[in-house]
Symmetry: D3
Subunit: 245 residues, 6 copies
C-alpha cells in the first residue's frame, strides 16, 4: 500500500478509467474518442493518395500528425491558435511526438505512396493529453488501415500495421512514482515522464523531464516499471476496442 494520497484516490499503479469509442465521427477513415478519466480527445486518421513532394517516387508512405486543444478544453480559456496566427511551442512539440510515435507503428514500405494524417483534438483536458492522443490515435490508425484494405488501397498481402503502440505518463508525486498523472498531480509533480511502447515490448520514445530537482537513476527505473505495466493494460484495452465491430 502506498504512503501517499493521490487527489483521485487511486493507487500509484492505477490508470484512470479508460474508454475508447470507435467511429465517433462519420467522415474520417478512422475516428476515435479516447478518454483517460476526464481527459477526452477526438483522434481521426485521414487517408489520402500520394506523399509529400520530398518523398515522391520512392514507393513509401507517410504518417503525420497535428494536435490542438479547443479553447475551453481547459480550466481557463486559452487563446485559439488559429486566431493568434500560429501554433504554440507546446503544440508543435506534442504533434511532432505523436507523428514520430505513430510512424513507428507502421511499415511505410507496405503503406505504399499514401499519406495518413492523424488529428488529435482535445475537447476536455485533465492531464495526459499527449499520451491519451497517442493511445487513441493508434486505434484510429488501425481502423484507417482496415478501411484501406476494404477499399483496395493497398497491394495484396502487405500489412502496414507493424505493431500497436500505446503511451502513458509517469511521474514522481510527493516523492513517490505514480502512473497516469491527472492535472492536479501533473502540475505538482517533481518529475514528469511520457513513455511510448509497442505491443512487441520495445520502447518507441522516452521523454523524462525534471521539473524541479534532478531525478535519480533509481527513480527512473521505478517509473519505467510502472509505465510498462500501464502500457500493457492500455494495449489490452485497444485490442478489446478493436475486437468489437
Amino acid at each position: 500500500m502506498s504512503s501517499i494520497e493521490r487527489p483521485s484516490g487511486r493507487q500509484p499503479q492505477d490508470l484512470r478509467p479508460v474508454r475508447i469509442t470507435r467511429n465517433f465521427t462519420c467522415h474520417a477513415e478512422g475516428s476515435v474518442l479516447v478518454e483517460f478519466g476526464n481527459t477526452k480527445v477526438i483522434c481521426t486518421a485521414s487517408v489520402a493518395d500520394g506523399v509529400p513532394r520530398f518523398m515522391r517516387g520512392e514507393g513509401r508512405g507517410w504518417v503525420t500528425a497535428e494536435y490542438g486543444m479547443l479553447p475551453r478544453s481547459t480550466g481557463d480559456r486559452m487563446n485559439r491558435e488559429a486566431a493568434r496566427g500560429k501554433q504554440g511551442g507546446r503544440t508543435v512539440e506534442i504533434q511532432r511526438l505523436i507523428g514520430r510515435s505513430l510512424r513507428a507503428a507502421i511499415d511505410l514500405e507496405a503503406l505504399g505512396e499514401n499519406t495518413i494524417t492523424i488529428d488529435c483534438d482535445v475537447i476536455q483536458a485533465d492531464g495526459g493529453t499527449r499520451t491519451a492522443s497517442i493511445t487513441g490515435a493508434c486505434v484510429a490508425l488501425a481502423d484507417a488501415i482496415n478501411w484501406m484494405k476494404a477499399n483496395d488501397k493497398l497491394k495484396d498481402d502487405v500489412e502496414p500495421l507493424a505493431r500497436m503502440i500505446a503511451s502513458v505518463s509517469v511521474g514522481i508525486y510527493q516523492g513517490e512514482p505514480v502512473l497516469d498523472l491527472d492535472y492536479p498531480e501533473d502540475s505538482n509533480a517533481e518529475t514528469d515522464m511520457n513513455i511510448v511502447m509497442a505491443s512487441d515490448g520495445g520502447i518507441i520514445e522516452i521523454q523524462g523531464t525534471a521539473e524541479g530537482e534532478p531525478f535519480t537513476e533509481a527513480e527512473f527505473m521505478s517509473m519505467l516499471g510502472l509505465a510498462k505495466s500501464g502500457i500493457k493494460e492500455l494495449l489490452g484495452l485497444q485490442q478489446e476496442a478493436l475486437a468489437n465491430s
Copy 2:
C-alpha cells in the same frame, strides 16, 4: 405534399432531428453539444472579468464569438487553420455573424463589465453549421448567465439575458423552398438564406444569397415563412433543454 424528393426524405418544412446536450464538457461556464441531424457542434460560453480596452469604464459588458471546424469534420480533410497561420474568410464571416447574433440576446448594460466568449467548434459537418452554432450557443450563453447569478458576478436584480435567439437555414432546392438544408441540399441549392430570430418574434439577422440565378421577392417571402416556423420549433427545443436540470 411536396413535389420534390429531399435527399433525406424530409418534407420541405421539416427540421432534421435536433438534440441539445448541456454540460457536454466540464470546464466552461456553459457547454452544449448541439446536433442538427449529422451536424454536431460543441458550443461553450466562457465568462471573464473585464472588457476589451476600447470599452473600459463604460459599465457595459461584451459578447464575442470564435468558430472553427476540426480538420476532419468534413468529407475531405481541410487544412488546420492554426497550422496555416490564419483563419479563412468563411471562418471570419461566420464568427462575426455568431457574435453579432448573440449580442442581440444580451442586455450589455445588465451584464456589467464582463466578457462572455462563445466558442463554436464543429466536430462533424453536414450543412447548417452556423445556424446550429447560434442555436446551441444561445443555450450555453443562458447557462453562463445562470452561472454568473449563482456566483454573484452580477448586480442584484438585473437580467442580462434579454431574449433567446435561434437560427435556421432555408433555401430553394429544385425550385422549391425547403427548411434546414443538409450538405447534399446546400451544395445544390439555387438560393441559401440564414435567418436569426428572437423569442419575442423579432428578426435579428437575414442573410440571403443567390448562388446562381437571382431570386424573386415571392420566393424570399415563402423562405421567410418556413424559417419563422422552424425557428419557433427550435426555440421550443431550447426551452425544453433548459428546463431539465
Copy 3:
C-alpha cells in the same frame, strides 16, 4: 413628408448625389471612380488569362474581389492592413460580398477560362462603402468585358455580362426607414440592411442586421421597398455612364 430630420436634409427615399466616372486610372481594363455623396471608391477590373487551380480545365471563368480602405479615408486614421500583416474581419466579409455579387452579374461559362479581379479601394468614406463599391465595380466589369470583346479574348457570339447589378443600403433611423445611409446615420441606425439587386428585378443578396433591438417583418418590408426604388435609380445611372464614351 417625413417626420424625421436626416442629418443631410434628405428625404427618407433620397439617394445621395451619385457620380460614376469611367476610365479614372489608365492601366486597368475597367476603372471607375464611384461617388455616393462623400463616399468615394476606386473600382478596377483586371483581366487575366486562366483560372485558379481548382477550376482548371472546366472551361469556366472566375470573378473575385478585394477591398481596402486607405488609412486616412476615415475620420480617424486606421492602421494599414498591409503593415499589420492581415486583413481585418470586416474587410474579409465585404470583399466576399463584392465577389459573390459580381459573379451573379456574369455568365461564367461565357467568360471562358479567364479571371477578372475586382479591386475596390475606398479613398474617402462616409457610409455605404460596400454598396458604392458593388455599384461602381459593375460598371468597371462591363468595361472589362468590352475590352475583352475588343481584344478577341472571348469566343464569338457569347455575352458574359448576364445582367447589371447595383446595391444600396437601407436602415431604420430614428424609427423610420431611410435609403442610402451616410456615416452619421449609419452609426446611429437601429437596423442596417444592404441589398444587391439585378437589372432584371431579381434579388442577389440581402443582408439585414439588427444593431440593437430586433426588427419586425413590417419594417423589413418597408426597407425592401425603399431599396428597390433606390437600386432602380442606380441602375439608370450606370446605364447613363456606360452610354457615354
Copy 4:
C-alpha cells in the same frame, strides 16, 4: 539640344507636367493629390496626440510614413500586400526613405509630443512614385502644420516646419543624364538616382544605384546638376500650391 530621343519627347532637363491638388480628400489634416505626368499619388498627413512609447516624455514629436500601391496602379496587377500578409521589401525601403526625408523638414522639438503620419498611396504609376510621394507629402505636411496652428495644437511662437523639401529622380538613359524618368525610361536606365533636397539648398538624401555597369564620378556630377535644377522647380510649384487657398 540633346542627342537622344526620350520616349515622351521631353528634353533631358525637363520635368513632366506636375500638378499638386490640395484638400483632395476631406478627413485628413493635410491631403494632396500629386501628379508627375501619369504618376498619381494621394498623400495624406494625419496628426495624432502623443508619440511612440520609446520617445515619451522627451518633449519631441515624431513623423513617420507608410507607402502603398493600389493593386492595379500598374500595367500588370500586383498582389495586394494586405492580402499577402506582408509588405514587400521595395515598399519597406520606400516608406523608410519617405519618413526619413520628411523628418528632415520638421523641427521635432517645435512639434511637441505629437505624431504626424504620412500615407502615400499610389493610384496610378508611371515611374518616380517615391519622388512624387515625397514632393506631395511635404505639401500635405505643411497643411497639417497649418491645421495644428489653427487648432492650438502647438506652443506659441514655434515653427515646426523648418524647411520645405522636394525630390526628383535622375538617371543615365541611352548614355545621357536625364531628369525625372518615367517608367519606359526607368526600366531601361543604366543608373537610377533619387535625390531629396531642401528649400535652403542642402541635400537630405542621395540614393544612386548602378543598374548594370558602374557609373563614373563625372556622370554622377552631371546627374546631380540636373537634380538640383529640377528640385528648384518643384519647390517653386509647392510654393504656388500653398499660396492658393
Copy 5:
C-alpha cells in the same frame, strides 16, 4: 575493442574533441563558442531586469532560450527562418529543451526578478547541436551569474547557480551503442537519445527516440551508461574552461 567502424574512427565511448571558448563576443554578459568536433555553436547569456508579466511580483527570476541555425551551417542551405516568417517545429522543440534544461541549473528564487535569455546560434553543424548548445550555454550562464555578482545585481549571499549541467547524445549505430554522434552517424542511427545531467549526478532530461525499430530496455541501459561517462567528461571540461580567466 569495438566491432564497428565509426566514420570518424572513434571508439564507441569517445567524445569528439571538445573546445569551450569564453568571451567569444564582447557585448553579452556570458558569451561562449562551443565546439563538439565540427559542430560549432555561439551561446550567449543576456541579463535583463524584470521577468515576464505572468511572473511579476513573485520575487523569482526566469531563464529562457532561443535557438537558431545560420542558413549555411549545414551541407545544403536551409531557408532562413526570419525570412520564412516562422520558426520550424524542430527549432521550437530544441529551444524549449534548452530552456527547460538550463532552468534546472538555476535557483530561480536566488536569481531574484531578473531574466536571463540564452541564445544558441549554430554556425556550423555536424550532429549534436542541441547537446553542444546546452553544454556551452551553461558556461555562458555561469559567466552571466558572475557578471551579476560583480555588478551588484543579486542580493547578498545568494548563489543562483545551483549546479552545472551538461548534455550529450548517444545512439545505436550499426547495432552498437555509441557516444556523441556526428552527422553521418546520426542520420543512420536506429535510435537517438539526448541526455542532460547535472554535476551532482542527477538526471535533468532524457529524450530517447526509436528512429526505425523499437529499442530494448537493455539497449537503453547501455546507452545511459555511455551518456553518464560522457557527461562526466564534459562537466570536467566546463570546469577547466571556467577556471581560466
Copy 6:
C-alpha cells in the same frame, strides 16, 4: 592633422583594422569572416542549380542576399526576427542593398542558370555592418566562383566575376568628414553615407542621408574623396586574402 578627436583615436582618413578570414566554416562554397574593428560578420556564398521561376529559360544566373544579426550581437539584446515572425525594415533594406551590390560584381550571363545566395550574419556589431558585409561577401563570392570552376559548373572560357567590389561608410562627425564610422561615431553623426565601388573605379551605389541638418555639396565631395581612398585600401586587402591559399 585633424581638429577632432575620434573616440577610437583614429585619424579622419583611417579605416579600422580589417581582417578577412576565408574558409571560416566548412559547408559553404564560399565562407568568410570579415572584421572591421569590432564589427564581425560571417559571409557565406551558397551555389545552387537553377534560378527563380521568373527568370527560367533565359540562360542567365542570379545573385541574392540575406542579412541577419544574432540577437546579442549588439549592446542590448534585440528580438530574434525568426521568433517575431518577420524581418524588420532595416534588415530588408540592408539585404536588398547587399544583393544589388553583389549582382554588380557578376556577369549574370556568364554565370548561367545558377543561383548564388549570399548570407551575411553579424555576430558582433560596432557600426558599419552593411559595408563590412558587402566587402566580405565579395570574397566569399569569388571563392564560390572558384568552386564552380573547379567543379565544372560553368561553361568553358567564361568569367562570371566581372569585378571585385567593396564598401565603406563615411560621415560628418563633429563637423568633419571621417571614414569608416564605428558605433559611437555613427550614433552621433550628422550625416551618414555608404558607398559601394568597384575595382575598376566605377561607383555601384551611393546612399547618403542627413540625420539632422542637410549637408552641402562640398561636404558630399569631401566624403566621397575619403570613401574612394578607403575602398581602394579594402580592395587591396581583398586581393591579399584571395592570394593566400
